[in-house]
Symmetry: C2
Subunit: 447 residues, 2 copies
């Protein structure tokens, strides 16, 4: 029986797919945080290279992947499409379950798909140094890999609690030559101000974004890189879905349901977006985006213009948001702890193309362990949310033959401390953070 | 340019290659430790299933891979063959450098290739429970994965120092359902006796083997599994070289030099052995086996019958050995800290087919970091020894066009603590352990 479909190097897509022009009613532009007017590329050019800003604003459906980027992606891409045959048996379902295995990237997740082109366009425009933030460290590792390939300096502001608790990801970044500091740090005004007030703080993604942006804005040779949310990131991640479409075709299958976990939206939209044109042409596909019940951006947030960071320094993005000063409870899927959502995924939800689903962390770890024993691969805590979503779909009516495709966004080999806590019974589910959401929603910027 | 060659599921080898019948002057049989007479399968059957013992003694060149085993291997196999194009550029060599990327296995190393068939043959013969030892944890993780797939209990005796220092590998085994204890443990006579004498001991692979064997011998439903050294393990690992031959052929290349690191010999022989028939038919290939200078089994050991464990309870194997009570210095490539060597690799060295090379750990970490920055993949400390060997070959005469193939046996994502110590300048090279070797050599059993 067919277990896995692989593609050769020369079968890898040579263009990315840009879903924006195909989205019904489109995507609203970012607003200048001061003037509240649509923000053109010239102002964003302080922190992003023009090559990426052109992609951010592009209305082209297909954009060529540069040869130099392809050459690096080919170290691990095309990634395998695997059929979870044992999981199907264990569940006793008639559904066929496929997953796209993005864990084969050298840093263990899909994040490298965007890190490589981001480093490339910066390098091409003479940038010498990139700054970024990282939470659990997946994005920081990916960008460190990419900057080492293009001989760029890389400065990573890593949320303090992860810096202390996930030493392996910090070491991976350092091995690739990146400079990693715990955030808040003494190296930025923002960081110093926060440390003065709260010397013991664990930090947050919002603080780290503010520090990385401040650093990039203050140096001529430096620009900033973001690992999710933005249109150009989702463009880069479309390679996942483009490959998956070819592979499913070779397998003689077409997905009835596509499932992915949603933090900033990049892995989900990366897999889903190349299927959107078929959907709009009448093909019956369901798109299911899973998110943590404790950070329910799509299911309990509001579609509004909001900041991407706590400090309120980024452009305003039109997206589902829980409010930019919402601090989610400490679930172990650090990559899903974000108050906002990519404007592209937000538009898909607004148009009722994507069905968002809330999941609790214990059911997700349970699904992850079941998957690991069945298919031999231990998923990252974020990926457990996709697996749980796929299992729910497979078990909705186990007698119904249907085809499920989900994104296996990353492995959990460097997240084993979370599994330890799960097995030790030290993890729990969180009550719906109603009060915190109400408070942060009240602070949405007035447009 | 071609970066990587992949094979489809249906191009995966369906037979293993057994090099034993092709080795000039063959391989001597194991001896009974009591009678010093050749040991037949009936006595070994106390700890190994007949399916594996048949393979251990087999004189067949090709042995079918069971369908159930193929199905599991296909989760990640065939593994990619990658050309290290950037490394070539960085080195400024005219050599072409290829590597077989065994790091794509779900546990990050080649060990799973033998763990899966070992679990299968035990399951087929009604065994309910497997015991094994693990040092750094690679083999323990692989066997835990395999036993979870065949619904066998798994008990891993993990060397105390790794149990304490490598918590992630322990957690991986537990996620797959294995029972992991620090060795020496209170659960065996051997363990209790050692703990009574040395309550603070760090343990050793030799002690852990003795405990796992004692456990397996004392229960009817239990057998023992070993991750390297034995003929059947090298048979299973031949899938690496069989795939590589096909892939190199597709690339239009043939290796002038094949390089691998040698601990017990399984990853090196797995890649090298399918090329032995060509060599014996007159094809010019050099086989280079790299080993730590601090555990120089092939370069400073003696070819003799010796025990596989410290306690002297295993059958006597005819192999290069430093003496079964040799304790290597604490280098970070835990998988290469073994006093003996597979009888198959030993025979290849005896016949001057394989050239053994000594390397120090600092030059290997340096090579590993160079490789990581060039090719984006962080190697395990053991794999750094193969990379260093390949680089030496590429730089011997950088103007000479030649083709080098090495085995990338595993990634280092769970070994980052070793890299931290390397970057912090806390690692050093060890002087040649002349006195320790002289002492342990004096204790070789008299045959």
């Amino acid at each position: 029986m067919m277990k896995k479909i692989v593609l050769r190097d020369d079968e890898m897509p040579t263009q990315w797919y840009n879903v924006v022009p195909d989205l019904p009613n489109g995507v609203l532009p970012p607003l200048d945080p001061e003037t509240k007017q649509p923000m053109g590329p010239e102002k964003l050019a302080a922190v992003f290279p023009m090559g990426l800003l052109e992609q951010e604003m592009s209305t082209e459906r297909f954009i060529d992947i540069p040869e130099e980027v392809l050459e690096i992606l080919k170290i691990w891409r095309p990634s395998p499409l695997v059929r979870a045959t044992t999981l199907e048996k264990v569940l006793g379902t008639k559904a066929k379950i496929f997953f796209k295995n993005e864990a084969v990237s050298p840093v263990g997740s899909h994040k490298a798909n965007s890190a490589v082109p981001q480093a490339y366009y910066n390098k091409r425009e003479g940038v010498k140094r990139l700054t970024t933030e990282t939470g659990a460290g997946q994005w920081g590792c990916a960008l460190s890999l990419a900057t080492s390939k293009f001989d760029l300096e890389c400065k990573v502001y890593m949320v303090r609690v992860s810096f202390d608790q996930k030493p392996y990801r910090k070491s991976i970044m350092q091995t690739f030559g990146a400079n990693v500091v715990a955030s808040p740090s003494m190296e930025t005004r923002t960081g110093r101000a926060i440390l003065e007030k709260m010397p013991e703080t664990h930090g947050s993604l919002g603080i780290a974004i503010s520090e990385a942006l401040e650093d990039a804005s203050s140096r001529e040779d430096t620009k900033y890189a973001l690992g999710s949310v933005l249109n150009h990131v989702i463009l880069h991640q479309s390679i996942i879905g483009l490959e998956a479409k070819k592979q499913m075709e070779i397998a003689g299958e077409y997905p009835d349901v596509i499932v992915g976990c949603c933090g900033g939206g990049s892995n989900f939209a990366g897999l889903a977006s190349p299927y959107i044109p078929d959907y709009l042409n009448g093909r019956k596909i369901r798109f299911v985006g899973t998110e943590p019940a404790s950070c329910p951006t799509l299911t309990a947030g509001r579609l509004a213009y909001d900041f991407g960071d706590v400090a309120g320094t980024t452009p305003l993005l039109y997206m589902y948001t829980l409010g930019h000063d919402f601090i989610p409870p400490g679930i172990h899927a650090g990559g899903l702890r974000y108050h906002g959502m990519s404007p592209i995924v937000s538009a898909m939800v607004r148009e009722k193309i994507v069905e968002p689903v809330q999941l609790h962390q214990l059911e997700c770890f349970e699904a992850g362990v079941l998957f690991a024993k069945a298919e031999g691969i231990i998923p990252a805590p974020e990926t457990c949310h996709a697996i749980r979503g796929a299992i729910i779909e497979a078990m909705r009516n186990p007698e119904e033959p249907k085809t499920i495709l989900f994104n296996f966004s990353g492995h959990g080999l460097i997240d084993m401390a979370s599994y330890d806590r799960y097995f030790a019974g030290q993890l729990h589910d969180y009550a719906y953070p109603a009060e915190a959401i109400a408070q942060s929603m009240a602070n949405l910027p007035k447009i």
